[in-house]
């Protein structure tokens, strides 16, 4: 975003700007909506949650004497008579990135007050998220069918199942919550709540298209976490 115009405030670029923003009165993040700042700080906190999960995973995987199962084989699929490693995971990644892209465009159209476009893109994102959760459910059931449990598995170290279910479960919960909110916001956009400043159901505060960006931040974060899980859990 280009810097917003604030009466009486001189924006400076780079670190100089950082110093003058921090030293100024009223706000530190100039022109940043309260809700957006809140979402950023929340995501920072959530980053620490996922970092702690992944660090625990590293410590657990690193210190076990039993061999870690080869994820490439465990998560492989047998399709059309060939074993394709990590096929499902690759599709899931594809789906999540697709939904991230549609979300980014939804934010753009939201700011342009293009109600229709924004609404459809959010709906597309929600459907992408739903597909992802569905595939994850399929993956879970496939692994459970193969005998992988949180406390044991036939392929190697028992911690494999523990960390797999915990981390993907926690990520999946995030996705599911995101999907629910995406549907709600798609409804709100289509119903025009942001154009006529309708007050919210719970908070009784007026809505604004900036909420789409806040939702977008959350959704991109979910995608971001998946990038790390994909690298550390499936590829490593």
């Amino acid at each position: 975003m280009a810097d917003p115009k604030i009466e009486g405030y001189q924006f400076k670029p780079g670190f100089k700007g950082m110093a003058s923003d921090t030293g100024s009165d009223q706000t530190m993040f100039k022109g940043v909506h309260w809700g957006k700042a809140m979402m950023w700080i929340f995501l920072l906190s959530d980053t620490f949650v996922f970092s702690c999960f992944l660090i625990s995973y590293m410590k657990g995987r690193g210190s076990t004497l039993i061999d870690w199962p080869n994820p490439s084989e465990v998560f492989g699929l047998h399709v059309f008579g060939v074993d394709v490693p990590l096929l499902l995971i690759a599709i899931m990644t594809f789906v999540l990135i697709t939904s991230s892209g549609t979300m980014a465009l939804a934010v753009k159209y939201g700011y342009e007050k293009n109600r229709k476009m924004c609404g459809w893109l959010i709906l597309a994102t929600a459907i992408g998220g739903l597909t992802f959760v569905g595939m994850q459910a399929f993956e879970w059931s496939k692994l459970i069918h193969e005998g992988v449990r949180p406390w044991e598995n036939p392929f190697g170290a028992p911690q494999f199942g523990s960390f797999f279910f915990m981390i993907t479960g926690f990520h999946g919960t995030h996705v599911s919550i995101g999907v629910i909110f995406l549907f709600i916001y798609a409804y709100k956009v289509f119903a025009g709540h942001y154009d006529n400043k309708k007050r919210g159901w719970f908070t009784s505060m007026k809505g604004d298209y900036v909420e789409i960006e806040i939702l977008g931040l959350y959704w991109h974060f979910v995608d971001l976490v998946w990038v790390f899980i994909f690298a550390f859990f499936y590829l490593w």
Binding site: I6, E7, G8, Y9, T22, G23, S24, D25, Q26, T27, M28, F29, K30, G31, V32, W34, G35, A37, M38, I41, F42, L44, S45, D46, F48, V49, S51, C52, F53, S56, K59, G60, S63, T64, L65, I66, P150, W151, A157, P158, Q159, G161, S162, F163, M166, F170, F202, T203, S204, M205, K206
Partner: protein
């Protein structure tokens, strides 16, 4: 200059001329403050009893709700400590108590006091009440989320208290909840007790995250015109930095709670290696108990500062106001708070020197830990240098502050013992540790809480607490608490290990018997003395004398509200405009010995104001 700007100035000139008397000719340029970036906050005003007092969205009411709930848990914790001291001092009189009971009391006392009492009181209680007032906001930025935050905390407390009544009782694993013993049979409350504890902690973290986001965004994005970060009272700095720590440290607690819950109910082995208990090999294997300790202390050490930093901030304000002098080295104080906060993420394993972790960590953590001693020491110097050449009102508030300095320096010095890795070896896991952390994060913050209660009670209720009762309350608490914990260090020197249900059959420990009786007596008296405060509050609410506006002649914005006590929205028609830091006391040339933050420079051109 906009029209709004002009109007605003008329208002504050009228306001400040009351306190300042006449002034030099106003010069519009020097009083210029940028116009508001953000429009007025849209507030939801409650209409019914429920929306006004129960599910209320006013941060001040939420603060009081947090405060009362935390005090309730604190009283539970106090009673538990009495029971523990009864066992330690007079085991014959505590015949009803088994070792199981004792360990359950130890655990619940620790967890309640650290998390549900001190953290909730400082951040939830003082944070909610003071942040919007001190930065000049109408309310917290997300009042609805703030309300949910309190009720999550309330449910967390309810779940915690419920664990007293489940089969097997509350968990007795020690407040650190170290696995494997936490979820194994040999520990009391390893069934429902520990599960409820973990659920309660998770709820606390979720609720706290909601509150914490509010505090942070209010400080960062909702300050009033003219309120720069470097003009905020140190109270806000302390609570703000503590909240940052909480937002980044509580995730580790949440993660460890989730993993331990899974170990308990699903039989995963995150923290559980192969274990033989009562002759049977359990269905665990390959996990690492030390991982839990790392996660726990990655949360636990910042947690110490989550309690300490608000106390640092608040005490700075109290000392400054009541010695009628600016806080010495404000900039240094701010950087010290921020520095301590940042460093606190790099020192966690100094709790684990003898835990069996990689022994080479000792070098790293001893160094980082002792580095923290420097900013902390600077804060202490600045407090006493604030007293130096001040004009000290020796009222109850100041007494609590002086008590804080004595106990905090004492506890801080023993912290250097325990942080310095090889000195820690003989002293860790002994009574020295107990004495240290009670002195530094039990008694010292408690002194600040009490001082803050006496200081801000006139704001909250509009009435002054009784000074005579307050002094009795202080002296009994201070002398009693000091005589509990100062001698206790020496039990640690002998080598008396902590968490011992009874200990007197060792020859060199038998000498500790008399000491333990003395400590227990002191503990009973100190605990009972806290009821003086409750009596004082009830009496004051009924018959206390009216405080009026700004009874302490302080500068910060919370004393310049439109009504006392402040109503929802805090500042009436117009938000205050800030022109200076909150510590302009005894400025040469000024008529009174204080200049409120709202006083524009044009009114005090004849004074020698150095810092704004």
């Amino acid at each position: 200059m906009s029209e709004e700007q002009d109007n605003n100035k008329v208002v504050y000139q009228a306001q400040s001329s009351e306190t300042m008397g006449g002034s030099a000719s106003p010069s519009p340029d020097m009083d210029y403050v940028r116009p508001a970036e953000i429009p007025e906050q849209d507030l939801y005003h409650g209409h019914s009893f429920i929306t006004k007092w129960v599910f209320c969205q006013d941060a001040k009411v939420i603060g009081v709700q947090y405060f009362l709930t935390a005090v309730f848990t604190g009283i539970v914790g106090l009673i538990l400590s009495w029971l523990m001291r009864l066992q330690l001092g007079f085991p014959e009189a505590a015949g009803f108590m088994t070792a199981e009971h004792y360990y359950q009391f130890v655990t619940m006392h620790g967890m309640i006091m650290v998390v549900y009492f001190l953290t909730a009181l400082f951040l939830g209680g003082f944070g909610n009440y003071l942040i919007p007032l001190m930065v000049g906001a109408r309310d917290m930025v997300f009042p609805y989320v703030n309300m949910i935050s309190f009720w999550m905390f309330f449910i967390a407390v309810a779940v915690l208290m419920a664990s007293f009544f489940v089969p097997g009782g509350p968990t007795g694993a020690g407040w650190t909840l170290y696995p494997p013993q936490t979820i194994l049979e040999g520990t009391p409350g390893s069934g429902m007790g520990i599960l409820l504890m973990l659920i309660s902690l998770s709820l606390f973290v979720i609720g706290f995250t909601m509150g914490g986001l509010n505090y942070l965004i209010t400080v960062l994005q909702a300050r009033t015109r003219g309120m720069t970060l470097m003009r905020m009272p140190l109270t806000v700095w302390g609570i703000f930095t503590a909240t940052v720590l909480a937002m980044l440290a509580f995730p580790a607690l949440l993660v460890s709670a989730i993993m331990m819950t899974l170990d308990k109910i699903l039989g995963t082995s995150f923290f559980m290696p192969t274990i033989i208990q009562a002759g049977e090999v359990l269905e665990y294997g390959g996990g690492s108990p030390i991982l839990f300790q790392h996660l726990f202390w990655f949360f636990g050490h910042p947690e110490v500062y989550i309690v300490a930093l608000p106390a640092f901030g608040i005490v700075s304000d109290l000392i400054s106001v009541h010695s009628r002098k600016n806080i010495f080295g404000y900039r240094m104080m701010v950087w010290a708070i921020v520095g301590i906060g940042a460093l606190s993420f790099f020192v966690w394993a100094h709790h684990m020197y003898v835990s069996g972790m990689n022994p080479w960590f000792g070098f790293f953590f001893a160094t980082t830990t002792l580095i923290i001693a420097v900013p902390t020491a600077m804060k202490v110097y600045n407090w006493i240098l604030t007293l130096w050449r001040g004009n000290i009102r020796l009222n109850t508030v100041m007494l609590w502050c002086l008590g804080f300095i004595v106990t905090f320096v004492n506890g801080g010095i023993t912290g250097i013992f325990l942080g310095n890795v090889s000195v820690d070896v003989p002293l860790s896991d002994t009574y020295f540790v107990i004495a240290h952390f009670h002195m530094v994060m039990g008694i010292a913050p408690l002194m600040v809480i009490m001082g803050a209660v006496y200081h801000w009670f006139p704001l909250v209720s509009g009435k002054m607490l009784d000074e005579g009762l307050g002094k009795w309350h202080f002296w009994i608490t201070f002398l009693g608490a000091y005589s509990i914990y100062f001698p206790m260090h020496y039990l640690g020197f002998i080598g008396v290990p902590r968490r011992y249900f009874e200990m007197y059959d060792s020859p060199y420990m038998a000498s500790a018997t008399g000491m333990n009786e003395f400590i227990s007596m002191a503990a009973f008296i100190v605990g009972a003395a806290q009821f003086i405060l409750i009596y004082n509050i009830i009496k004051t609410l009924k018959t206390g004398k009216k405080a009026g506006q700004n009874p302490w002649k302080a500068n910060s914005l919370e004393w310049y509200t439109s009504t006392v006590p402040p109503e929802h929205g805090n500042f009436g028609e117009r938000l205050p405009v800030v022109h200076r830091w909150p510590y302009d006391f005894s400025v040469p040339g000024a008529k009174e010995d204080f200049i409120p933050q709202t006083t524009p420079p044009s009114e005090v051109v004849h004074t020698k104001v150095e810092k704004t």
